[in-house]
Symmetry: D2
Subunit: 342 residues, 4 copies
C-alpha cells in the first residue's frame, strides 16, 4: 500500500479525491488536511463518506507543508486554491514527496503567462519547467517520469481531448476555433457566494467570464504545442443548472481537402486504446459520464458551411479534476492506469 495525503479535502475536488482514493485498493490515506476543519473527523464534514473503512478513523489535520510531511505520505494531492499550491510544492518536493496538483499553479510553462491570466506573480516559477501537464492521453510518458504533475483543468480537458489529435495531424485551420462550453455549478467550488445559490442557478443558463477566461492560458498553450504553431481561440463558458458535468461544443474549419472521414479516422486511432476516452457516433451527454472518468467525444460536419463540430462531455470533478489526478498518480506510482477508476 502506498501512503498518500490529500491537502485541502473539504472542497468538491478534495471530497471526490477522498472518495476515489478510499476505494482505490492500492493506497492508504495517510492524511487529510483542512485548515477550516482541523481536528474534526472527516466523516463529520463529509457525511457522504462517513463510515467508509478507509476514512472511518481519519480526522482532518492542519494544512501546513510540515503537517503533510509528518503524515509520512509518499504522494501529496493538492486540492488548494491557485497561488497556495505553489507555496506547498517546494517544501514537499524537498522532503521527497511527489505531487499531483489540482490547481492551476503548475499548468503553464511560463510565469509571465501565469501573471497575465491570474493577475499575480507566480510563487515558485523555478518549478514550472519541471511540472508535467496532467492529461495522460497527451503527456503520458512525461507524467510517468514526473515528480510534480499539474492535473489539467476541467474546461481544458474537454476542449483539448477532441482538438489535440486533429491539430497534431494538421487537419484543422488553426485560427478557426470557437468553443462554447457549459459547466455544472460544482465547478464554482464550495464557497459561500450568492451567485451560486440554488435559487440563483436553478432554471438559469448564462455565459460568464468572457472573453478571456483564465483557462484559456493552458488551453492555448497545449493547442499550440499540438499544432506546432501559435493557436488562439475564442472560448465562451456557461453555467448550467446541474451539479456536475461539462459539455463542450467546438466549431472549427477542417483544412482544405480534409474530410469528416479523415477526422474520424484520426480520432479513432488516437483513442482506440485509451481506457477513458470514448470516441463514437453517439452525441455526448453529461449524464452518461457523470460519476465516471470518461470523456465522451463525437464529431459532425456541417456540410452546408464546411464547419466541423466537435462535441465532448466529462464529469468536471472526475475526468476534469480528481479522477484525472488519480489517473496521473497511477502512472507516477506504477499502478495500472485504470486502478480505482472503473
Amino acid at each position: 500500500m502506498t501512503d498518500v495525503a490529500i491537502v485541502g479535502a473539504n472542497g468538491y475536488s478534495g471530497e471526490e479525491l477522498c472518495s476515489l482514493l478510499a476505494r482505490h485498493g492500492g493506497v492508504r490515506i495517510a492524511g487529510v488536511t483542512s485548515r477550516q476543519h482541523a481536528g474534526k473527523p472527516v466523516g463529520s464534514i463529509l457525511p457522504r463518506l462517513k463510515g467508509h473503512p478507509a476514512i472511518r478513523d481519519l480526522a482532518f489535520s492542519n494544512a501546513t507543508a510540515d503537517d503533510v510531511i509528518k503524515t509520512g505520505a509518499k504522494y501529496a494531492f493538492l486540492a488548494l486554491p491557485h497561488g497556495l499550491a505553489a507555496e506547498f510544492a517546494l517544501p514537499l518536493l524537498n522532503a521527497g514527496l511527489k505531487i499531483v496538483d489540482l490547481s492551476a499553479d503548475f499548468r503553464l510553462r511560463e510565469a509571465d503567462v501565469f501573471q497575465e491570466f491570474y493577475g499575480e506573480a507566480h510563487a515558485a516559477p523555478e518549478l514550472l519547467a519541471h511540472a508535467a501537464y496532467g492529461i495522460p492521453e497527451i503527456w503520458r510518458e512525461k507524467i510517468k517520469a514526473a515528480t510534480l504533475v499539474a492535473s489539467a483543468g476541467c474546461y481544458p480537458t474537454s476542449i483539448l481531448l477532441p482538438l489535440v489529435p486533429l491539430l497534431r495531424a494538421g487537419q484543422i485551420v488553426t485560427d478557426s476555433i470557437a468553443v462554447s462550453s457549459a459547466s455544472g455549478v460544482s465547478g464554482a467550488g464550495r464557497k459561500a457566494d450568492v451567485a451560486y445559490l440554488y435559487a440563483e442557478c436553478n432554471e438559469s443558463l448564462r455565459a460568464y467570464g468572457l472573453p478571456k477566461h483564465r483557462h484559456l492560458s493552458e488551453i492555448e498553450q497545449e493547442l499550440t504545442f499540438a499544432a506546432g504553431e501559435k493557436v488562439v481561440i475564442t472560448f465562451v463558458p456557461h453555467l448550467a443548472p446541474m451539479t456536475r458535468g461539462i459539455h463542450t461544443t467546438t466549431f472549427a474549419k477542417p483544412k482544405e481537402g480534409v474530410s469528416l472521414a479523415a477526422i474520424k479516422e484520426t480520432l479513432t486511432q488516437a483513442y482506440a486504446n485509451e481506457p477513458f476516452v470514448r470516441f463514437g457516433d453517439t452525441l455526448p451527454d453529461t449524464k452518461n459520464v457523470v460519476g465516471t472518468n470518461y470523456c465522451d467525444i463525437a464529431a459532425r460536419l456541417d456540410e452546408r458551411t464546411g464547419r466541423l463540430i466537435l462535441l465532448s462531455a466529462e464529469d468536471n470533478l472526475v475526468k476534469g479534476a480528481a479522477g484525472q489526478a488519480v489517473q496521473c498518480f497511477n502512472l507516477m506510482a506504477g499502478f495500472p492506469e485504470t486502478q480505482g477508476l472503473l
Copy 2:
C-alpha cells in the same frame, strides 16, 4: 372585448396562451379545443388555470375547423403540430377569422424549402405568400396588416433578434456565423417520450438535431432578407436541464473596420424603443426572462481573435411562442402592443 379561440390548448404553448389571454383584459376566450380532451373542463386538464374567472366555465371542444368557427371567434390561435395547422388555415380564413399560427407551417416563403426541411409536401402552399413572419421587431407593419401571422419559433427568435439589425447594417461577415443554443425541456412538447423523462434530462446537457435542425430554414430565410444576400450558418441546439428558457451564443466576424462600439450602437438604436428587447451590458440569463416576454441581448468582442460574441436569452414558451403570438395579435387587433404582456 374581442373573441378569440385557442386551437390545441393542452400542449405547453397552448397552456401558456390560455394563461396570457386569460389576463389580457381585452379579449374573451370564446373557445378552447383539444381532440384528446374534448368535453372536459379546461381546469381539470390544466389545473394551474383552474378557477381563473376567464377559464372557469370553459370546456375543451373538439378540434375541427368547424368547431372553431362555431365559437364565433374573430381570431384563432393555432397551437398545433406542424402539418396540421396548414389544414385549418384555409377554412378559418374563408370564414373570416384572422389567424396567429404558432406552428412552423407558414414561416417559410417557399413550399420547397418546407418540403426539404420538414420532409413532407406543404398542405396549403398558396397561403405562404400571404403570411407574415411573426417577429414584431422585424416585421411590425406587415403583421399589422396580415390576416395570417406565422409566430416565429423559439430558437429563431433568440438568434434573429441580435443578428438582424447587424446584417441590415452590413456589419457582419455573412459566412462567419456559428450558433450554439440551449433550450429547456418544455421545448420538446408535452408528449410521452422516454428521452424527455425527468430522470433522463436532469443532470444532462447534450446536443441534438445537428447539423441540420428544422429551424435553420426560417433562420436563414430571415437572415438572408436582412443581409440582402444568401446567409448560411452553423447551428447547434442543446437540451439543458431546465423547464423553460433558451440561451443562445452566436459567434460572428465583424466586417473589416467595424468596432464593438459601432455594433453596440446599431443594437442600441434598433431596440431603444422596443418594449420587449433589453439590449445592455449585463450578460443574459434565462432566469431573468423566464415567465416574461423579454429577449435579453448583450454583445462582447474577443479582441484576441476578432470574433464578436452575441448572447441572448428568452422564455421559449413566451417570447419564443405564446407571448410573441399575443404580441402579434395585439398588433393585428389594434391593442397596445404590450397589453397583457408586462
Copy 3:
C-alpha cells in the same frame, strides 16, 4: 394611484413584491430601499424587472425610517429580517403610514412567545396588540381595519388554511396533528451560505429545524384561536430541490363520528367564495401554484387507520409572502382583493 414603498427590496420576497406591485394597476411605487444597494438603479440589481415602466426610473434609496417617510408613501411593505421590522414600525405608524410587514415581528400576540421562539426581546411589544395576522381567509375584517398587518409566514399559511376551518367546526382531535412540509430553497433567502448552494441542494431532500421550528409559534397561536383550546402539533419542515413552492402533508384524527364527507363539506363551504383557495379532488402539486397566489387543498381519509390526510400547496414567495401581502394591502386600501394577483 396609491403611493407605496417597499423596504428591503433585494431579497426574494422584496423582489416578488416589486414585481407584483409593478403590475398592480392601482399603485405607484414611490420608493424602494436597500441598505446594500442604495443609489443603484433597481434594474441593475434585479435584472428580471429591468425596463418595466413602473420600475425603470427607480433607484434604491437608503433604508431608514426617515428615507421611507420621505418617499411620501401611504403604505410601506416591510421585507426585512425579523427584529429589524419592529424598529421601523413605530416611526412609520407615527408618520401616518400603514404597514404590511412580511417578517415574523408582529405575527405573535404575546412578546414572551416571541422571545421563546426567536431568542431575543421584542423591539416594540406595545404594537403586538394592534397588529392583524395577515391571512385574509381567516382575519379579513380585522385586516381591513388594521394599520399594521403581519403577513403570515409561508409554512403557516399552508398549514393553517386546511386546518382552521376544521378546528373551528370542531371536527379534529386537537392533539392528533402531525405535519410534514417541504419547501423550495428560496425560503432560505438570498444570503451567502454554503448550505444553500446549488451543488448542496440539488438532488437533496432533507429535514431541518426540528422539532421546534420558529414558525410553530404562529401556527399554534392560530390553531388555538380556531379550536378554542390549546393546540400543540408536531411539525417537520424539509428542504426540497426546487426554487419555489411549499407542499404540506398533515396527518390528523377526525373526532368520533366525523366522516370524510363532513370534512369535505366544511372545507368546501369555507372556500367556495375565496378567490385564492382551491379546495378540490386533485392532489395539490407545487407546479400548479408556483407564480400564483393560490393555495390548493385536498383531503383524503385513510380508512384503514382512520387518519385524515390533508394536502396543500402554495408558492412560498406569493401566497406564502408577497402575494399574501398584496392581498392584505388590497383589503386595507380598499382595492378589490384580487387586484394585481390573478
Copy 4:
C-alpha cells in the same frame, strides 16, 4: 468467478445492476436480457456503461426463461415488472438457478394479500413460502439459505430499517405510525408517460397513490412480524424533483416510559455492526446516500407532543433496489456482504 444473468436490464434498476455487477470483482455477467433491445450491444442502449471491460462484448439476448438458462448463469437477477417475474421463477429454479428478484412478486407471504394490493392473481403462489424477504439487516440468515430472494422495495426499506428494531424491542405504540416519504422520479421507471416528463416533474412536489399504496402490503407484513402483533400504518408517498433518492419521515408514539435515549440505544445496537446502515445524529440527506448502498437514519423526539420522529434516506436504485439485490446475492453466494458495494 460466478456467472450471473440480469433479466430485464434496460430499466433503471437493471442498468444499476449492470453497473454494480460490472465492478463486483467476483462475478462474470454471463447474460443480459431485454425483449425490447434483443440483439443490440449493451453499450448502445446503456451508453453510460459503454466500453467497460465487463460489458464491452455483451449484447442483449431475448428474455425468455430458456434464454436465461442457456447463458449458464448460476444466479439470475430479475428486474422485471411485477407479474412477469413470477413466470420466470419456476423454470429457472427447476433448472438449478438461484434467483434475486427485484419485483414485488415474492415479497408477500400470502397470495391473497398480493391479489388485494396488485389486483391480479399471483402466478406462482406455491413459491411464496420459499422466498426470503430481501433486507439483509432483518433476514440475513434466511437470505443466506434461500434459493429465491425477494429484494425489498425502495419505500419499504427506508421505512422498515428505522422501525423494525423499535417494534422488536416493543418501544412503539403500534397504531401510532404515520409515514411521509418522498421519492426521486427514477422510482417511476424508464417508461414513456407524460406524468414523468422533465417539464412536469421539475419544480413539482406532489403526493400520489394515497391512501393505499401497493408497498403498504410488504411494509405492514414486516412491521407485523417485528411487533408480533398486527400493525397498520398510514403512508403518504410524494414525488420530488430529483432523479434518485428517497427520504422518509416517520411519526410514531413511544410507549409509556420509553425515552429518546432508550430508542437511540436500540437503534445504535441494531446497527453498530451493519456496514450499510448509518444511524447517527446528523439529519439524513438524500445527497449523502445517492450512488451508495447506505441507508442513513436519525431519531428526534418532539418533547412538546411526545411524538418520535424517525428520519431515513437511501438511494432508491441502490439500497432501495440494485444494491440491496447485490447485497442479498453476496450472502447467497458466499461473498463478503460488502463486495462491490463500497
